[in-house]
Subunit: 209 residues, 2 copies
């Protein structure tokens, strides 16, 4: 049996959650309460010493603690439907967009929020090292995020999916990024009709919860 | 026939070049002279409108212009030897480390150099939008880079390869990152014996040129 350690309100485990739902992989879900600091407690530390979610526990190996690992694992073990693409060209296009959405979208949001939120002071990067906030980086993150939404909207003008003409992990990552942007008060709007159409179609899949 | 548009002195196309060499994929190489601005000229713009290297031209589709796309394409089209892993768990470990080396290594170097070099003023991020340099981010990039080398050294204490007990794309990316660190005057040294041992073993493969 596969178990996903999840947190319903956090963007990173949401990527793994949608991936599992789209693959229709039988699994259990355990909620970890990040607000009360449950991830730092002894019980969860035994499951994932890095104290992060998502954490995917399988029956065959070490816990998987990042979305790159989780997607690679699930795609190989449960190939259908493919979410990383089937042909070499499809795989290429999906991998390329996945990287862009992570770098230009998710990372821009992380820069904006981690370098401005009082709650994140001294934790401007994830991981064990404490880094001070850089206010100019928060501003730049916000500018990048606005640019990213414009790029994505243009890209979707004549497309139903982010990459390779099919639903893929790039759509999952993009949905999570676009929705998570609200944490820095950015939402797609009238300037992004194609993005909004795509977002509504994604919602109708019923796996984005 | 496959053609790699390359630049012998740049880190990003080096990743694609090593990947092709390790797969032993027959291909042609065309050098693009980034110093003279050849990538901005009309001839190269027709090949890759984004004016970047690496650019991989294949016989079956659009030019591939980033390392994520290139690795995914080549692995699918030329499966042997696998550089992204064979089993689900190997694929997971390799994808996870590949992401870490990109985010904690390559990105740290990029932050350090792009936010400090006079030649990069106004181009603190790749791509078409001009972003101003953030001196504090250059400093943070340098701190992250030193931390990354320490982490990698510890990780390699009892290992011959970065991930999954086998040579993989994670080793390629890590070699390129460790070598490229010299652009900000950082080199592994006495504090990194395991990293140096691994680096020497990588050199003996004869594909790292």
């Amino acid at each position: 049996m596969i178990t996903l350690y999840d947190c319903a309100t956090a963007p990173s485990p949401r990527r793994a959650r949608i991936f599992l739902a789209e693959k229709n992989v039988p699994h259990e879900t355990v909620q970890v309460d990040l607000r009360s600091g449950e991830q730092l407690g002894e019980a969860f530390r035994r499951i994932n010493p890095q104290c992060t979610v998502p954490a995917l526990v399988t029956d065959e190996g070490p816990v998987l603690t990042d979305n790159a690992s989780i997607a690679a694992y699930l795609e190989a073990r449960f190939p259908e439907p493919p979410l990383l693409g089937r042909t070499p060209l499809d795989k290429a296009e999906i991998a390329g967009w996945q990287w862009r959405v992570e770098f230009e979208g998710l990372m821009a949001i992380a820069e904006a929020v981690r370098n401005s939120s009082p709650a994140m002071a001294g934790r401007a990067l994830p991981g064990p090292v404490g880094y001070a906030q850089i206010p100019a980086l928060a501003e730049r993150g916000l500018a990048r995020l606005h640019h990213f939404l414009a790029v994505l909207n243009d890209h979707l003008a004549h497309r139903d999916f982010i990459a390779a003409g099919q639903f893929s992990v790039a759509d999952i990552t993009a949905v999570v990024a676009v929705d998570f942007a609200r944490i820095v008060k950015v939402k797609p709007g009238e300037a992004h009709p194609h993005l909004l159409r795509w977002r509504e179609a994604m919602q109708r899949r019923g796996t984005m919860g």
